[in-house]
């Protein structure tokens, strides 16, 4: 279980997050600029909160008392960036292998399994610039999972994709989370995506968690009545 209890002063408000995630999909939902991405960056260690603590299964990743800061590369926190951040100077295979243990037979098996699961076997030797948005997304997912993360953060993973691909990948994300059985924290501003994917949805407004129902849940309820 991952528990997060952090505060960070930002230009317009103070981010104040207190939540815990089991091995399922937690969605952080809110308008742009509400602190969703900042929260992910704090969990990954790319930003330092002002105070609080982040603990993953007894391992303290960040804490102000006593002072601890585990750097990003030792956190085992996978991060899928909004624009996928694939390395343009490496082909698909090299991208996916970047964070893996080289020469480990387990890695070779995992690689084959990921290519198969994400249906990207024919792409392995292709250069990044020749991939479609959906393909980039799959490669970025494979790369993140290949590094053996204990938590996976996904920043607007589907926002760059068109309707059909988006629905297909929603199903795949859910399936992958079940298979890997690690916490996925997904950020989105799309209420439908939040409703479809989230086992639990947290609303953020100006850096604070607010209790509110998803618009779609309300609509669905009204429609059903």
């Amino acid at each position: 279980m991952l528990t997060i209890d952090i505060r960070k002063r930002l230009a317009e408000f103070t981010l104040d997050i207190n939540l815990s995630v089991e091995n399922n999909i937690l969605v952080l939902f809110g308008p742009s600029g509400c602190g969703k991405t900042t929260t992910l960056r704090c969990i990954a260690g790319l930003l330092k909160p002002d105070d609080g603590r982040i603990v993953n299964n007894d391992q303290i990743l960040f804490s102000t008392e006593p002072q601890t800061f585990v750097p990003p590369h030792r956190r085992k926190v996978g991060y899928m960036f909004q624009e996928f951040a694939l390395f343009p100077h490496m082909n698909v295979k090299k991208n996916i292998w970047y964070g893996a243990k080289q020469g480990d037979p387990g890695s070779e098996l995992l690689y084959k399994r990921l290519l198969h699961l994400l249906k990207i076997e024919p792409l392995s030797n292709r250069s990044i610039e020749r991939l479609s948005g959906g393909e980039k997304q799959r490669v970025a997912l494979a790369r993140a999972l290949m590094a053996g993360p204990e938590i996976l953060l996904l920043d607007e993973p589907l926002s760059a994709l068109d309707g059909d691909t988006r629905l297909e990948l929603q199903t795949e994300l859910k399936r992958l989370q079940k298979l890997w059985n690690i916490p996925f924290i997904l950020v989105t501003h799309d209420p439908e995506e939040a409703a479809n994917l989230g086992d639990k949805v947290i609303f953020l407004e100006k850096g604070r968690q607010v209790s509110r129902k998803l618009p779609t849940q309300r609509l669905l309820k009204t429609a059903g009545q």
């Binding site: 990954a44 260690g45 790319l46 750097p71 990003p72 590369h73 030792r74 956190r75 085992k76 926190v77 996978g78 991060y79 960036f81 624009e83 951040a85 390395f87 343009p88 100077h89 970047y98 964070g99 790369r143 993140a144 590094a147």
Partner: protein, 228 residues
Amino acid sequence: MIEWQPVILSVKVALMSLVLVSISGISLAYFIKRREFPGKAVIEALLTMPLVLPPVVTGFLLLLLIGKQGPIGRLLSETFHTQIIFTPYAAILAGAVVAFPLMYQSAKAALQGVDATLENAARTLGASNWKVFWTVTIPLSWPGLVAGLILSFSRALGEFGATIMVAGNIPGKTQTLPLAIYFAAESNDLTLAGLYVLIISAITFSAILGLNIWDKSRGGHALTKGWF
């Protein structure tokens, strides 16, 4: 008969300067890019000074530092019982100092052009800063770095003012190509001076031409990126 020694010495000096300049220029640019500290603007201006100072002034300042009575000169003679003033090492130092801002500026522009998200992505995949630097930062800033290396090499190769101040003009020992051209012309040996001019022009021209062709083949703007 043409004396090849200044040509060989010049190329050696320029290459050695390039080693100093590439290490110091790239690491300083990397450090400056990543850190914020008080006085950063002043440090940056100082690092670019050798580009705008007359080389003879740079040479004079170097002379004060590495001369027999200078702080570095004294340190060298007291600790290692040696001097670098009026040796080829002083010519290497002079070349490196005048070429440094070209490497530094090119490296800074090239490193700043690397998308920080890609470096962060590498970190979250378990790469240490060292691994990120060598596998992401350097390969992605390579075109700009190569441009900086070629400009620096050409600049070091042609250095005259600072070199003559600290290395002197000892034929066969510290006489580089530009010095040889000057003294050949002064002693009215225009043929020799002309030959040396042809040689140094051919070397620098091929370097810049090679860079342009390579840059064009990549469809990039390595040479001008971040400068204009």
